[in-house]
Symmetry: C2
Subunit: 148 residues, 2 copies
């Protein structure tokens, strides 16, 4: 989670919503680190989780990440949660809860859908306050810069 | 839809699940055509809809596709439906219904979620039988080739 937080802070420095993600292989080795690149790529689908999973799959030469763990600073949105199903991700560990935009423990709760074909193990709320603080700080700064 | 179907047929010829998508601009002009590239890119997130929306946004130089219509041969999955929310897509027209994998009129019904921040207009079941037939034919051929 420390590496994911670092990636999130780097995203904030670039003016991106600070979300960072790391994919770990079966032995715990880091396969991919990514942060939100929506602004940089001008691509609303360029969330940290999708970028990290794509890179990990490329490295492994496999479309299945069933032996991998994804660590991300914020509860994944429904798009990223559904992408985790497509990548057959083994486990997701996330930081801050996202009652408004989350899709794992909020909203459509993608993995709990009856038709969901793959359910990663989920551990939420890891270093929750630290992760939530980073996002809160970013949005306060953004609001202040828009008002000034 | 004819162009989306053509793209889907080309995907089938490459051994991809045959799904094709077209993004039309505000005057009905074609901005992007894409088909499923999961096999080609070895990327489970490379669905036709996401590839087409990304290309259309790039062409328009805008992250918002609120003036655009996406035409796709199959009911979008939850990942693609959620991506449509992020891209603020204006309208989606789709062909075959997908009771097992769909995320618009089945499963999590992404646009009907109370927390959904943007709801594209939806028209489903357009040239439904033709679109469904293409998919059915593909899976029958795939099964036969695996059995032989």
């Amino acid at each position: 989670m420390a590496q994911a937080l670092d990636a999130a802070r780097q995203a904030a420095d670039r003016g991106e919503v600070p979300v960072g993600a790391v994919v770990l292989g079966s032995d715990g080795q880091v396969l991919a680190v990514a942060s939100n690149e929506v602004e940089k790529r001008q691509d609303p689908s360029a969330h940290a989780e999708i970028l990290a999973m794509r890179e990990a799959a490329r490295l492994l030469g496999s479309r299945s990440l069933s032996s991998c763990t994804l660590v991300v600073t914020l509860e994944p949105c429904p798009m990223c949660a559904s992408a985790m199903v497509h990548f057959r991700l083994g486990r997701v560990i996330y930081g801050a809860y996202d009652p408004k935009g989350g899709g794992v423990d909020h909203g459509p709760r993608i993995f709990e859908q009856p038709a969901c074909l793959h359910r990663p193990e989920v551990i939420g709320g890891v270093r929750e306050q630290e992760n939530a603080r980073l996002l809160k700080k970013f949005f306060i700064t953004l609001r202040q810069s828009r008002l000034s």
